[in-house]
């Protein structure tokens, strides 16, 4: 990048369901712009700067509930600025599905790296808790998502389950391995005040949970949640002056698929396979680029936040992130190498998306928030036990979106 960029402040609200009629004291009614404002206020307070100092903003756009809240339901960035108070700054609204969080971090970092401004904010909020896993139109001719849903009955977990079953066949992944993912990722969940489900699970509990789309069980699939997060980035030399522990952004990028990838990714009805093109290429492309930008190799990564939307995701994305053969992540998991606190490569110390639930556009930023707290040594009882040089966050999104970030200590 032209100018170096660091993170000077992060903030998020607790993931949950706003409002949750059964726990209104914990999850009261909040609109999406309100959730975004809360996350921004926390990030500003963390960075000890004022809203007036923010020179550019990028907002993650949530696409699925606009019928409930009109323009605020898609969370246009200016709807948030209206609540914060208009200051005339450039604001851009971005939709890259579940990869939106780090896609907007990239836009904010590029705004600073290019010299357009010195301080930029990425913010995302969304209300996924009431469900979004279905097409949003009834256009039978042009909406491919409608076609896959009504013609094939393919739900999101069904897609994950098909990939998972083939992995079990090819790599020897066992039902216990799948359950173990939840056991391991949920270990730190009781210590994360921002997680929706602040509890851990036993192997027996997971294996006894009902099968949703076999081979995947209920506790092996994440829920959908509401959530909001904000990250403030700053030109690195300036960041060192205004903050004690600026977190250096080594690289942040977005990946999309390669033509010929055999993956029939969500919303699509088919794929056209070409020899030599790997599956999940959007993830591999993002990860490969983020390593190249940072000038490091996968063996240098000390800490990972990945999209554990299901137990299959956890294993498949470890393949992509660490450049492993299917079956190797399973062995590492069994050996304890991936323990979120004590492992050789702690993975998902936040508790992961399993503990948070999927708040589609915000989760990529939540991962970054966790890495920032971990690098600054502020993660409390879930603080990883090893010295962390490089930390990586990666999120995939339906329909061919992906994003990845590498961070390190900037002090």
């Amino acid at each position: 990048m032209e100018r170096d960029v660091a993170i000077i402040g992060v903030g998020m609200i607790r993931w949950g369901r706003y409002p949750d009629p059964k726990q209104l004291d914990v999850f009261p009614d909040k609109t999406m712009p309100e959730m975004a404002v809360e996350a921004i206020a926390k990030a500003l307070s963390d960075a000890k700067i004022s809203w007036r100092q923010v020179e550019a903003m990028v907002a993650g756009v949530y696409l699925w509930v606009n019928q409930q809240a009109g323009i605020h339901g898609i969370l246009s960035g200016t709807a948030i600025a209206n609540l914060m108070g208009y200051t005339g700054i450039p604001i851009v609204s971005v939709a890259n599905a579940c990869a939106t969080g780090q896609s907007i971090l990239r836009e904010a970092a590029l705004a600073v790296a290019s010299g357009e401004c010195d301080i930029a904010l990425a913010v995302a909020a969304d209300k996924s808790a009431f469900g979004f896993f279905r097409p949003q139109s009834t256009d039978g001719r042009a909406d491919i998502d409608y076609m896959r849903f009504v013609m094939c009955g393919e739900t999101n977990p069904a897609y994950w389950a098909m990939e998972c079953r083939r992995r079990m066949y090819e790599a020897g992944t066992t039902e216990e391995d799948l359950a173990l993912v939840k056991v391991v990722t949920s270990k730190p969940a009781p210590y994360n005040p921002y997680a929706r489900y602040q509890r851990s699970f036993t192997l027996e509990e997971v294996l006894k949970s009902p099968i949703v789309c076999d081979p995947l069980r209920l506790y092996e699939i994440c829920s959908t949640s509401d959530g909001a997060a904000a990250v403030i980035v700053c030109e690195y030399e300036k960041a060192k002056k205004i903050c004690k522990k600026p977190v250096y952004i080594n690289a942040v990028t977005v990946g999309t698929p390669t033509f010929g990838d055999p993956t029939v990714r969500l919303t699509y009805l088919s794929s056209y396979k070409k020899p030599g093109v790997p599956s999940l290429s959007e993830s591999r492309n993002a990860v490969e680029r983020v390593y190249r930008m940072a000038g490091i190799t996968p063996d240098k990564i000390d800490l990972i936040e990945l999209p554990d939307n299901s137990s299959w995701h956890y294993l498949a994305y470890l393949d992509c992130i660490l450049n492993l053969n299917p079956g190797e992540p399973e062995k590492m998991l069994r050996r304890g190498d991936l323990d979120p606190i004590t492992g050789k490569i702690p993975t998902c110390p936040s508790g992961g998306i399993g503990a948070f639930g999927e708040a589609v556009v915000a989760q990529g930023l939540a991962q970054v928030c966790e890495l920032v707290w971990q690098l600054r040594g502020e993660a409390g009882q879930r603080q990883v036990k090893k010295e962390v040089k490089y930390a990586l966050a990666q999120t995939y999104g339906y329909a061919g979106n992906n994003a990845a970030t590498i961070l390190s200590k900037g002090w």
Binding site: G131, F133, R134, P135, T138, G140, R141, I144, Y146, M147, R148, F149, V150, M151, C152, G153, E154, T155, A158, A161, M162, E163, R165, R166, Y169, P210, I211, V212, C213, D214, P215, L216, F259, P262, V264, Y268, L269, S270, S271, Y272, K273, K274
Partner: protein, 147 residues
């Protein structure tokens, strides 16, 4: 049961040949590079190929393929999906000789095996007073039948 046979119509038109005794999926093929797309597309998806709609021809895909993977969906998906009455069903991904991997429901949840041969057919998801609404489905082929 005593009523006359209702007309079968696809839920979404244009995805497979119908009416037909041997329904086939309808795809586009690029005359320049051979890339195949399902459902039909106006432009070739090959990044190195020119974006000229004249290059795309309509083709019918092979009716027999190999089951790459599958799952059984145990809960009813929310609308707009509709199946009456609901019962758990299998969804699979099928590898066709053209190099395409295609999604689709399966006609059964029983005795499914990796890489088994499956054949294209149609099945009903729901009906109203006048019509039965159908989609394409993959049906296991009992014995390998190569044509």
């Amino acid at each position: 049961m005593t009523e006359k046979v209702k007309k079968k119509v696809p839920i979404v038109e244009g995805l497979f040949t119908w009416p037909s005794d041997q329904p086939a999926l309808i795809a586009s093929r690029c005359k320049k590079c051979g890339a195949i797309v399902f459902p039909k597309a106006t432009y070739c998806p090959n990044p190195d190929c020119e974006k000229n709609s004249q290059n795309m021809e309509t083709v019918q895909l092979s009716r027999v393929g190999k089951l790459w993977s599958w799952t059984i969906q145990y809960y009813p998906p929310p609308p707009p999906f509709k199946m009456e009455p609901f019962k758990p069903y299998a969804v699979g991904m099928v590898d066709l000789p053209e190099g395409l991997r295609v999604l689709g429901m399966l006609t059964t949840t029983e005795n499914l095996r990796f890489d088994m041969e499956v054949e294209l057919t149609v099945g009903k998801l729901y009906e109203d007073e006048e019509k039965e609404y159908i989609t394409w489905m993959w049906k296991p082929v009992e014995k390998a039948c190569k044509k």
